[in-house]
Structures are given as structure tokens and as C-alpha cells.
């Protein structure tokens, strides 16, 4: 009797593991997507804005001088998105002084205007903030024009 019960225990664990493995396999994106190398570590998470800004900031990090002050904004302007972009900039623009265009969903223009460079995520803005230094489908980098 005990032997039968003890036989059942590993079988239960094994069957449970097999069920969860099946779910793991089913959860992953389709095979044809998986075999394509991601362009960023965030390509397939359900927050697409992150991979777009990651791609852009990663490329800009090789163009933007060390120690430069930079603000990151979106086009069209979206304070919620710009708050996230500030955090992404802190991560990906190491060695630069990253300033927010918005914090906690509220625009902070008095801080943003202190930056010497402006990154615009999305299409080119209708009123260019300065001299265009870099452009990609994900956004652009500008040196701010000072009066």
C-alpha cells in the first residue's frame, strides 16, 4: 500500500512538471520570431515603447559626447512617456547628464531647457530645437540653439 502511494508521488511530480513544460513551450513567441535575433533585450516584452527608445538611445550613446547634458522628449509630446524616457536615458546614456523633460507625468520645462542636447523620440518635431546631429527611424538628436 505504502509502496503504491510512494509510486504515485514521483509520478504526480513528474506529470505536473510535464504539464508546466508544455505551458512553457506554448507561452514562447512563435518559432519564426524566436529565430530572429532581437535588436534590443526588450523587443518582445509587451511595452513596445521601451525597445524603440532603447534602440535610439543605444545608437545615440556612441554619438553624444561624454559629460554632455541631454533631455529626452517625445514627438508628439507625452509627459507620461517622457517620464519613462528620462529613466531609460539614465540607464543607457551612462556618463552623460540626463535631464528630464517630464517627471511623474508632469512636464518640467525649466529643467529640460538646461540641456545642451535634445533627443526626440518619434518623428522630427515641427519646430526643430536646434541643429540636427543624428537621425534614425526611431528619433533624432539635436544640439540646442542658444539665443
Amino acid at each position: 500500500m505504502r509502496r503504491r502511494a510512494e509510486t504515485f508521488r514521483p509520478s504526480f511530480f513528474l506529470l505536473s512538471a510535464a504539464i508546466l513544460v508544455a505551458f512553457s513551450i506554448a507561452w514562447l513567441p512563435p518559432k519564426k520570431d524566436l529565430l530572429k535575433a532581437p535588436t534590443t533585450p526588450f523587443d518582445r516584452i509587451p511595452v513596445p515603447a521601451i525597445s524603440q527608445s532603447y534602440r535610439l538611445l543605444w545608437r545615440i550613446s556612441s554619438v553624444l559626447p561624454a559629460g554632455a547634458s541631454v533631455a529626452i522628449r517625445s514627438e508628439p509630446r507625452n509627459p507620461d512617456l517622457e517620464s519613462s524616457l528620462f529613466q531609460n536615458g539614465i540607464a543607457l546614456l551612462n556618463g552623460r547628464k540626463v535631464l528630464p523633460a517630464a517627471l511623474w507625468g508632469h512636464p518640467v520645462p525649466e529643467i529640460e531647457k538646461q540641456a545642451d542636447f535634445v533627443i526626440v523620440v518619434g518623428p522630427k518635431p515641427p519646430f526643430p530645437p536646434g541643429t540636427l546631429l543624428f537621425e534614425s527611424p526611431d528619433g533624432s538628436l539635436w544640439r540646442r540653439s542658444r539665443p
Binding site: 510512494e6 511530480f13 513544460v21 514562447l28
Partner: protein, 467 residues
């Protein structure tokens, strides 16, 4: 060699740092591969401890110095075990078909976690928000960068008071690699899952018959692999927390927990849990206290308490001292005042937790281990993992009843990850052999005719419950 490869390869220093302790004969009852994986876990705790201590006293980090300090500490810890019995290695038995299937399922789970992490399908946003930026800044500064943590615009975003183990280890890898490789950081998830898969079967095998230990380990690894992918844990602190918590719990429900070597190992793993994430501290407290209460008649409480709690205290002391000395924090930041409990949100909180857990294969990674515990609970020791699961759940619900007026979004992205260790704890509770059965003298299920004595010494007090 690309920086990502160097970053990952640098973690090979962890087993080097921890091996002097795990090479002690007291641990030889565990398989070599299990000890290697455990030495990586112990080495990580010691490396992080020295990185924090160096930062506290203002010494810049140098990789060889850190490794040497950690390895020397591991060596000195051996002196605590001098009076230990010398254990014979467990005999090598031919794997049974059930065990081969367990190994196969475990391998698939680790491979799938690797695929999920490498394909960017499981990456945690927290990697980009604070784990990565902190590690990157620390690596650049070659210390815990108090100026960065204290930046007025970043102070809340970076969660300055979060415990230091993950950021220290990521900074360690980034120093070796020359920069912080974001994609490689996500691959620490399958790496830690593999470490768990290598260490757990042998530890659990001390408390459960071999086929049950192997199959239960497979279930735990598969459940955590699925949870890590579905709840986007790659690159954040959770996989390390799961490793430390699961291994510590597995040690404490077995006969090794009645020996000094077992208690020291469990203490170091608990220090790892407490150093990895905030919720590791309540886990460490809950499991250690329950262990001491449930098994108090089997050992001397004083020395056991010291071995279990001292590593956590010593690991966190330099961190909190650093916070105070650099005017960064005093204790952990919370989610509002302790007494401000919004009981009216209880329904919302419970329902949101249910939704979050349900999103992972209809909550099966939690339900199947729970079912195992209910159906197969044969030992009073199961109260340790079961009790910890209850206490942790209450702690998480209590936390969610604070802070954010509408906690649903917060719960949706965090609950799955923080509840995930329960899968391991519950399964462990269902794997224990019946009370009165000597954990190490009971033969495995499929080797009933095998020799009973595995060559392990008797542990003082272990027979009392049988009389």
C-alpha cells in the same frame, strides 16, 4: 570576446570564492555538482558582502582583491566546522527511468528559460529602471556610488535602500566586462535556474527518497522557469532570490539542518535571500524562526540560531551602515506609513493577486505544488515550508494594502514574481518522507532492496521523535 560573454563568464569567480567552504568533508554527502552550485551561491554572498564592506570603508573595488577576500572568508568559515563528523559521499546509483525523465524535463525548462531570455521575451523592465543603472554606475565608480543614489531627481526611481547583492554582482560582472551588457544581464535568469537545477536534487535527496527528490526538483525548476518567463523576471533580482530561498528551505527541512555544516550553509543562503531583495528578509526571518520552533527538540537552539541569523545580520549590517553614514537611508523604504492599512482595498488586492497568478498557466505553477503539499504531506516538518508560504503571503497582502490608492497595476506586474517562491516551498513540503523515517537510511522508491546505510553519521537528537 564580447562584453556580454565576459560579464557572464565573470560569475565563474563565485564558485571559486565559495569552494573553500563547500570542499569541507562535512558537505561531501552532497554530489560534487551540487556542491559546485552551492559554492557559487555562497561565493556570491561573500563577494557581495566584501563589496559592500569595501564601499563602506571607502576602498575602491578590485576584482582580484574581492575574490581573494571572499575565498579567504569561505576558508575561515571551515573552522566553525572542525568538530563536524566527516560524511561519506552518497553512493552513485544508476538513474532510474523516472529520474531520467526528471532530468529531461529540467533540462527542457532551463533551455526554454534560456530561449525566453535570449529572445528578449522575458526581460524585466526593472532591469532598465534601476537594477542596471545602479550596477552600471557602481561599476564606473568602482564602489557603491552614493552620489548617484542621492541624485535628487533619481532618489526615488533608483530605490536606493534596496539590498545590494544583485547590484553588487552585476557591477562585478560589468567591471570585468568593461561595460554593463544589458542583454547578458537578462541571461542571468536561465543561469540561476540552471544553478538551482544542479544544487536542489542532492539537497532534497537528504530529506526525501531519491525519485521523489528528483521529480520534486524538476517540478520546482519547471515552475520557476515558467514563472520567470511569464512574469518577466529576466535581469532582475527575483531569480537569485528564488535560488537562495528554495535552497535554504530545502536544507532546513532535511537532516543536514541539525548539523553545524547544514545550519551554516542555510544561514549563508538566507543571507543571500536577504541581500537579494527586500522580501528576502521576511522570508529569512520566517523560515529560520519556524525551523527553530518546529525542530527545537532535535538540536541546541543557541548555536543553531547564531549560525542561521548571523550571516544575514553580517551581510546587511554594512549596507545599512553605508546608508546611514552616506545619508542615503535608514532601513528599507516602505510604501506609506506602517499603520495606514487600507482594509477597504482587501477585495481589490486579493482579486488582483488572483488575476496575476492566474495569468501564468491558470495558476498551475502554484496550484500543482499546493496540491502536492495537501495530498502528500507526511511529515510534521512540512509545516516549515507551508508556514513560511502562509506568512509570506500575508506579508505581501499586507504590503499591497499600503501606498498606492489603486494597487491593481502595481500588483499586476509584481505579484507573480514575488509569489513565485511559494511554488518551490509548497512542493518541498509535499516531498518530505514520513516522520520517523530516517531521511538518509530510507532507500529510494525504486531501490527498495538497496543497502539502507548511506554511511551518514547519526545526528544528536534525531531519533527522539521516533521513540
Amino acid at each position: 570576446m564580447r562584453s556580454g560573454h565576459i560579464f557572464l563568464a565573470s560569475f565563474a569567480a563565485m564558485p571559486l570564492a565559495g569552494w573553500p567552504l563547500l570542499a569541507h568533508p562535512a558537505y561531501r554527502t552532497l554530489s560534487r555538482i551540487s556542491r559546485l552550485s552551492l559554492s557559487a551561491a555562497v561565493g556570491a554572498v561573500l563577494v557581495s558582502f566584501w563589496m559592500t564592506a569595501f564601499a563602506l570603508v571607502g576602498l575602491l573595488w578590485r576584482i582580484p582583491v574581492i575574490i581573494l577576500a571572499a575565498a579567504a572568508t569561505a576558508f575561515l568559515l571551515r573552522f566553525l566546522l572542525q568538530t563536524e563528523h566527516v560524511l561519506e559521499p552518497a553512493p552513485k546509483l544508476k538513474p532510474t527511468p523516472v529520474e531520467i525523465l526528471s532530468i529531461l524535463l529540467t533540462s527542457i525548462a532551463v533551455a526554454w528559460a534560456l530561449l525566453a531570455a535570449a529572445s528578449s521575451a522575458a526581460t524585466s523592465v526593472d532591469l532598465l529602471l534601476f537594477w542596471g543603472p545602479k550596477a552600471q554606475a557602481f561599476a564606473s565608480a568602482r564602489t557603491i556610488d552614493a552620489k548617484f543614489l542621492n541624485e535628487p531627481l533619481l532618489v526615488y526611481l533608483l530605490h536606493a535602500s534596496y539590498p545590494p547583492l544583485i547590484t553588487n554582482l552585476f557591477a562585478f560582472g560589468a567591471m570585468a566586462a568593461g561595460r554593463f551588457p544589458w542583454g547578458a544581464a537578462a541571461l542571468t535568469f536561465p543561469m540561476l535556474l540552471a544553478a538551482l537545477a544542479l544544487a536542489l536534487p542532492a539537497i532534497l535527496g537528504l530529506a526525501a527518497p531519491r525519485p521523489i527528490a528528483r521529480t520534486c526538483s524538476a517540478l520546482i525548476v519547471v515552475a520557476l522557469g515558467l514563472a520567470g518567463s511569464v512574469f518577466f523576471a529576466a535581469g532582475n533580482g527575483d531569480p537569485a532570490l528564488w535560488l537562495f530561498e528554495t535552497l535554504a528551505a530545502a536544507v532546513l527541512i532535511g537532516p543536514a539542518a541539525l548539523t553545524r555544516s547544514g545550519q551554516l550553509l542555510a544561514g549563508l543562503l538566507l543571507a543571500g535571500a536577504a541581500g537579494a531583495k527586500v522580501e528576502g528578509l521576511p522570508f529569512a526571518a520566517a523560515v529560520a524562526v519556524l525551523f527553530l520552533l518546529v525542530r527545537r527538540r532535535e538540536m541546541r537552539i543557541g548555536p543553531a540560531s547564531l549560525l542561521l541569523f548571523a550571516p544575514t545580520v553580517l551581510a546587511l549590517a554594512p549596507w545599512f551602515a553605508f546608508g546611514i553614514v552616506r545619508h542615503l537611508f535608514v532601513g528599507y523604504g516602505g510604501y506609506g506609513r506602517f499603520s495606514e492599512i487600507h482594509w477597504n482595498r482587501l477585495g481589490i488586492v486579493l482579486s488582483a493577486i488572483g488575476d496575476a497568478l492566474w495569468s501564468a498557466a491558470f495558476a498551475l505553477p502554484f496550484f500543482l505544488p499546493l496540491l502536492a503539499l495537501i495530498v502528500f504531506r507526511k511529515s510534521r516538518l512540512a509545516i516549515i515550508p507551508a508556514g513560511v508560504s502562509v506568512l509570506l503571503s500575508l506579508f505581501f497582502v499586507f504590503t499591497y494594502l499600503h501606498g498606492d490608492p489603486d494597487p491593481r497595476e502595481w500588483i499586476s506586474w509584481s505579484a507573480g514574481r514575488i509569489f513565485a517562491p511559494l511554488a518551490g516551498l509548497l512542493a518541498i513540503g509535499g516531498a518530505l518522507r514520513p516522520d520517523g523515517k530516517d531521511a538518509r537510511a530510507t532507500p529510494g522508491l525504486l531501490d527498495l532492496e538497496a543497502p539502507m546505510d548511506l554511511g551518514l553519521p547519526s545526528v544528536p537528537g534525531e531519533n527522539r521523535d521516533r521513540q
